[in-house]
């Protein structure tokens, strides 16, 4: 009589459904536990960013997101390189104002503790900072500031994804998920009710729908020696392949964090041979602005692109893509 969370995917075989199915035990009980497993283990990357950079001592990255409404704990994975062994510090932030600017400290509130590491000299390193990020529901943007003790270093990439759990508190979640408790089914000869069946299916659907899956994009630091701005009449920020197995017709959200020194710049984000969205990038008092639009992808093997037609000098800090299941 408990909320059981399997630590790995429980294998239910099709032949478990054959013959006499005892309603007070398997397979219904295990199907319910798979829902619990999925809630605690479904962990696609919320952020999976490869950074466009030249070596620097400080980087400030903007990561547009739409996190789970259930305020999950997220783990972090960062790829680093430093020619010398030195202290590296990373701190995440969430917006404190409606239109935060990357270089304005007062526009941001720290999220979790600052973490440090000292990678070995001249060695490419994967760093998993301890602890987790409890990203508040409704957060639209993360800010990552990562800096060294004084020498230039590389930050190749950063991935943020839900932490796998092995327990689940009772009670409904904001997403609508309701933990499956086997209490009723533990009673010998218990009847099987329709609401239990429906809740198992609903739990799985709500979990998948609530967690977006990063498709990557383009990210560059707000400070540092490398700053890819465009005044060219046409400019391509990325042209990358991705993979979306089974998701023909899937909805992709494109988010940009950018400004153009002159009103009227255009930034087109789309899938090769398919749909796209056009953003109008303005100077907005020379400040960055987050925008979001969606398009559908009619292939399992999309090639995404971002093309700009700047009016002045266009400066995008992020052009991100995310798959929204169930939409």
């Amino acid at each position: 009589m408990a909320i059981v969370v399997p630590t790995s995917y429980p294998l239910l075989l099709p032949n478990d459904l054959l013959g006499v199915v005892t309603p007070d035990s398997e397979p219904i009980d295990m199907l319910g536990e798979i829902g619990n497993y999925l809630y605690c283990n479904h962990s696609p990357a919320l952020v999976n960013a490869a950074f466009n950079f030249d070596p620097a001592t400080t980087y400030t990255y903007i990561l547009p997101i739409e996190p789970s409404v259930d305020v999950l704990d997220y783990e972090i994975l960062i790829g680093l390189y430093s020619a010398t062994s030195q202290l590296i510090t990373a701190q995440f932030y969430v917006p404190a104002v409606a239109n935060p600017q990357p270089a304005t400290g007062g526009d941001w509130t720290t999220l979790g503790a600052a973490h440090t590491t000292t990678p070995g000299a001249a060695t490419k390193t994967w760093w998993t900072p301890p602890g987790v990020l409890a990203i508040p529901s409704g957060t639209q943007t993360l800010r990552l500031v990562i800096f060294s003790a004084g020498a230039v270093f590389h930050v190749f990439s950063c991935m943020v994804y839900p932490q796998r759990k092995n327990s689940l508190a009772s009670g409904p979640k904001a997403s609508g998920f309701f933990p499956y408790n086997n209490a009723r089914l533990s009673v010998s000869g218990a009847s099987q009710d329709i609401e239990t069946i429906n809740r198992i299916r609903r739990n799985v659907a709500l979990t998948i729908r609530d967690r977006e899956q990063s498709l990557g994009g383009f990210y560059q630091s707000a400070v540092g020696p490398y700053f890819l701005a465009s005044t060219a009449p046409n400019f391509r920020y990325f042209y990358v392949p991705a993979s979306m197995p089974g998701q023909v017709g899937g909805l992709v959200k494109a988010r940009i964090f950018a400004y153009d020194s002159t009103n009227g710049g255009k930034l087109r984000v789309g899938v090769e041979g398919g749909e796209f969205v056009d953003f109008t990038v303005d100077n907005n008092a020379a400040s960055y602005r987050r925008q979001e639009a969606a398009f559908r992808v009619h292939t399992e093997s999309p090639i995404f692109y971002a093309d700009a037609k700047p009016a002045g000098t266009m400066r995008p800090l992020a052009i991100s893509l995310a798959f929204k299941p169930g939409q």
Binding site: T7, L17, L38, T196, G217, S243, G246
Partner: protein, 188 residues
């Protein structure tokens, strides 16, 4: 009996309404089978693979570190790259190959483990950003050789477990990188 992973298209398959309603009997076999197929499919559908836009890094790093998060049921990855060439240098004497190269943590990190995909360009250089539309997407081979004797064009391995994991890659010579998850024949 096998328990292969399956794939669900989430666009239409994630209704949050009722699966059955009265006066349906709850324990009918076909309902259980339908529920099983839905739950199993959702739990084993691969995650989408991220498309990383990669800027060339000069020596000493030359390559970059990027990661992919993948779902259970994945056994191999087929590599996908984009590679660009600057048109203004296209007329120059051939100076490639600059093949795309990749290490995967699970696939091994020794010289023999390296995956090499030949460059589709024989002129110019690979460049970032991929402007001038002189860019091409190409796939690695489907050759499955988890214990290669030498660097080759092959599939990358995944640590096959019954829960989601990270796979980390070190890639060079590309302007975009992703993988196609290939599913195991059986989860057991």
């Amino acid at each position: 009996m096998l328990a292969p992973p399956s794939i669900v298209n989430f666009r239409d398959a994630l209704p949050t309404g009722d699966f059955i309603s009265p006066p349906t009997s709850a324990a009918r076999l076909e309902l259980l089978a339908g529920l099983f197929a839905f739950v199993h499919g959702c739990a084993t559908t691969p995650y989408v693979s991220t498309g990383h836009a990669i800027k060339y890094q000069a020596s000493p790093t030359t390559s970059v570190l990027v990661a992919q998060r993948y779902n259970l049921g994945t056994e191999r990855f087929r590599l996908r790259f984009s590679k660009s060439v600057r048109v203004s240098s296209y007329a120059l004497t051939p100076q490639e190959p600059f093949n795309a190269t990749c290490y995967g943590t699970t696939s091994g990190v020794t010289a023999a483990d390296q995956m090499i995909v030949a460059s589709p360009f024989d002129h110019g250089q690979y460049n970032y950003p991929p402007q001038d539309y002189s860019v091409k997407v190409f796939d690695g081979s489907n050759t499955d050789d988890p214990t290669p004797a030498a660097a080759s064009d092959r599939l990358a391995e995944a640590a096959k477990q019954l829960y989601p994991q990270n796979e980390t890659f070190e890639v060079a010579g590309v302007s975009g990188f992703s993988v196609v998850p290939l599913l195991a024949a059986d989860l057991q």
